[in-house]
């Protein structure tokens, strides 16, 4: 069993890139990651990769080189990137190979996602009558949460304001302009209580990470972070998920609470030890609820945390330092790996104008998706 290190990372800027397919953006990210390490594609022993709607990752070998390496395609909804990294992590940890790549990319059309009920084990009427929208789920989860814990729309707005402020500082972000809280609160209502500026949009982008065994990482001597934990979990009983025609009366945990606990256990640390966190922020309510589901605060404490600026780049626990999904958009296959990319860049001290001060040591990332899957990774400088 070897410890696993991330020794390089590449990104194709998120947003809209009409000239490149999703796959080509993936290749771009792989090349950038390799260039950073000084390694060639022929040095790479294996790859895990995937997209939700931009094609088969393994066809990248036609552009990168026909080295015959095992290249495993991953399709796991919003957790595709996180699952690709979990595959690469497990492969190196097991000792099977010592150097590999995890890559995720995507390219979605404008507007909301349009899922088909049968793909999710649901009857057609659920989609036909207009109940099958991710936006409705997010709105109703935070609506209930706000009523239960006394959270106000102003807190929702503050999360979006922070995201756009951070996005201004991130070269790979899509939204690079600050938006003030009053504009956010008064923008078009999409699904009450969430306005247009509180939602992320499906977009495009790609991320590649180079992973190595401890021995290989030491030999190469590159700036690196140790993967202390990588956990992927599905939903426990009583959770509240996207695309649920009904919920159990007995309310339970979530795939996030389960994945989070597993990751802390693997790493042998607790939420109080984390210096910087990237949390799934499909919309502002998700970031708020995921702060608690990942153990960083108790339910309801978010109001004070956010009002005091604790999750800003200069706060005690910076959250979504590159603007998260809100500023970067959500290319499903790439989104989870972007979070790990951001932690890698921050922990190796190369985040430029958005660098978290104080030499952060432990970075936490969390991605969530339908029909109830979460992936958590903890990295250490």
């Amino acid at each position: 069993m070897s410890d696993v290190f991330i020794i390089g990372a590449g990104i194709h800027p998120f947003g809209r890139t009409p000239a490149l397919s999703g796959l080509q953006q993936g290749v771009y990210a792989v090349r950038q990651a390799l260039a950073q390490t000084g390694l060639g594609w022929s040095d790479i022993r294996f790859a895990f990769g995937g997209s939700d709607s931009a094609g088969n990752a393994d066809t990248m070998v036609s552009e990168l080189g026909l080295t015959g390496l095992p290249f495993i395609n991953v399709a796991n909804g919003c957790a595709t990137g996180g699952s690709a990294m979990f595959g690469a992590y497990s492969t190196i940890k097991s000792g099977e190979f010592d150097l590999g790549i995890a890559v995720g990319f995507d390219k979605h059309p404008r507007g909301s996602f349009s899922p088909l009920p049968a793909d999710w084990g649901l009857p057609d009427w659920y989609g036909e009558t207009g109940l099958m929208l991710t936006t409705q789920f997010f709105a109703m989860k935070i609506q209930r949460y706000m009523a239960t814990y006394g959270i106000t729309p102003r807190t929702l707005g503050a999360v979006a304001e922070k995201a756009f402020a951070n996005g201004v500082l991130a070269d790979h972000a899509w939204r690079r302009e600050a938006v003030d809280i009053d504009t956010i609160l008064s923008s078009q209502m999409v699904s009450d209580p969430l306005t247009k500026f509180m939602f992320c949009s499906p977009g495009e982008g790609a991320v590649a990470l180079v992973l190595a065994s401890e021995k290989r990482a030491r030999e190469l001597g590159l700036p690196s972070v140790r993967l202390r934990a990588a956990a992927v979990r599905t939903r426990p009983p009583g959770s509240f998920e996207v695309f649920s025609p009904a919920l159990d009366l007995d309310r339970g945990g979530s795939p996030t609470t389960v994945a989070s606990r597993a990751a802390y256990e693997m790493a042998g640390i607790g939420p109080e030890d984390i210096d910087i966190a990237q949390l799934q922020d499909t919309e502002t309510g998700a970031e708020i609820m995921h702060m608690a589901e990942n153990g960083f605060c108790a339910d309801g404490e978010q109001t004070a945390w956010i009002a005091e600026g604790r999750t800003r780049i200069d706060g005690t626990l910076p959250v979504n330092t590159d603007g998260g999904c809100l500023a970067c958009g959500e290319p499903i296959g790439a989104s989870g790996l972007r979070q790990v990319y951001e932690n890698y860049v921050q922990l190796t001290g190369r985040a430029g104008r958005r660098q978290v001060p104080g030499d952060p040591r432990l970075g936490y990332s969390h991605v969530y998706g339908a029909p109830g899957v979460s992936a958590v990774a903890i990295v250490e400088r």
Partner: protein, 139 residues
């Protein structure tokens, strides 16, 4: 009572003694209630009717026309309310909400199941379901 249009799906909604109920399935081994109902052929479950009244558990308003597919409603779009309604002893069910102003929606308000006339893009009409506020005495 006027005759209802054909149901949008089998095994979804039934009228018993003038009240409409959603059809669900009770898992015999665990006692857990499932909605939508399982196929009749699955003998691990027995069909049960959900209570027709409950309380609003959460809500939102769908303010843009959902993409088609899967949405099958008319091209002309009017925003509609959606919520989860807690049916004690059974489940929390997702549904359209009708006969209530958007700014009148409150968590915990009493709601009752009603049949909903749903017009497809083709012009055909089907019967689906919704929850409407229970009219309280004296109001």
């Amino acid at each position: 009572m006027p005759t209802l249009a054909p149901m949008i799906a089998d095994n979804l909604l039934v009228e018993v003694d003038g009240a409409h109920h959603l059809i669900a399935s009770l898992h015999r081994a665990s006692g857990r209630t499932i909605f939508p109902a399982r196929p009749d052929t699955d003998d691990r479950y027995e069909a049960v009717l959900l209570p027709c009244e409950g309380r609003l558990w959460s809500w939102t308003v769908q303010r843009f026309r959902p993409k088609s597919p899967p949405y099958a409603g008319a091209e002309a779009f009017e925003p509609y309310a959606v919520g989860y309604v807690q049916l004690d002893g059974a489940l929390i069910v997702e549904s359209r909400l009708v006969d209530v102003a958007f700014d009148g929606l409150r968590i915990d308000m009493p709601m009752r199941l009603v049949p909903l006339e749903f017009t497809l893009a083709s012009g055909a009409v089907r019967t689906s379901f919704a929850f409407a506020p229970v009219e309280e005495a004296g109001r």
